[in-house]
């Protein structure tokens, strides 16, 4: 019983650290945030961070993994099942909007991240590509979408979304770029890949 309580406490602290790191990483950057700032945000001692994550890199990977997991679960809830490609794109934008400040940092700093963190980001993109590819297949079979190379359909979409995110200061300096430009991106992209009705 005592052990359980301790484990529970440990898990709660771990969650608190991850939540605080998501916030701090979004504000100060993935590669430049200091673990002491994460500790400050979480209200724990600096040493506590290292009791849970041995290095800054380990913390970063755990945070990307955690956010990736939540995006994956949400995407599955919103876009899972027999839904169309347009709904899958909408769901993607909607879910990314929920994590936009952190995700923006991921997009901007991706190439600077350690391999494990990059692999974790790629894992997240693979779950997105899985959802989109299922929707694409159905649309192509139904004759509503052009038969294009699947990787280019995915990269075309991601390229568009990431370009707007990476330059959010130019497209929507005062607000969420996904909220401001999301609809426009979806509309344009569907016109490109769908047959004209």
């Amino acid at each position: 019983m005592k052990e359980n309580k301790r484990q529970l406490q440990k898990n709660t602290t771990r969650k608190k650290i991850i939540e605080s790191a998501v916030k701090q990483f979004a504000i100060n950057g993935l590669t430049t945030t200091r673990t002491s700032d994460v500790a400050g945000e979480a209200g724990v001692s600096h040493g506590t961070i290292f009791a849970h994550f041995h290095t800054q890199e380990e913390l970063l990977t755990a945070v990307i993994e955690d956010v990736g997991e939540r995006i994956n679960t949400r995407l599955h809830e919103v876009a899972g099942g027999q839904k169309g490609f347009n709904l899958a794109l909408k769901a993607h934008i909607e879910v990314l909007t929920e994590f936009e400040p952190f995700y923006t940092r991921l997009v901007i700093e991706n190439r600077l991240l350690p391999k494990e963190a990059r692999d974790t980001f790629l894992m997240l993109q693979s779950t997105v590509s899985f959802h989109l590819s299922q929707a694409i297949q159905k649309e192509v079979e139904a004759g509503s979408m052009k038969k294009l190379p699947e990787d280019m359909v995915f990269n075309g979409w991601i390229g568009l979304v990431h370009y707007y995110i990476a330059n959010s200061d130019l497209f929507a300096p005062e607000s969420s770029v996904l909220k401001t430009c999301g609809e426009k991106m979806i509309h344009f992209y569907l016109n490109m890949v769908n047959y004209n009705k």
Binding site: H76, E77, D119, T120, L122, S126, F130, E150, D151
Partner: protein
């Protein structure tokens, strides 16, 4: 909700499970035609090809990414 131990996909519907059997811990994409779970090599191969097909990565980069992804999953943690 259970997650597939071999690829991590959340299994919401009965049809997501291998052979539509909810007592299984792996999904329909990780099952062989006879319903048994794919081996490590089979899964690594199919995941690598999936990444190439849907994201267009270089073969070696895709293989390395697939390996890293599988390392995180309960079925392959100790491989």
């Amino acid at each position: 909700m259970k997650k597939c131990i071999a690829c991590g996909m959340p299994m919401q519907e009965v049809s997501d499970y291998a052979s539509g059997d909810e007592s299984k811990d792996y999904c329909k994409f990780c099952a062989r035609p006879d319903g048994t779970m794919q081996s490590y090599e089979e899964k690594l191969d199919s995941l690598t090809n999936f990444i190439i097909k849907t994201q267009g990565l270089d073969k070696k980069a895709a293989g390395s990414a697939a390996e890293a992804m599988m390392k995180k999953l309960p079925a392959w943690k100790n491989m």
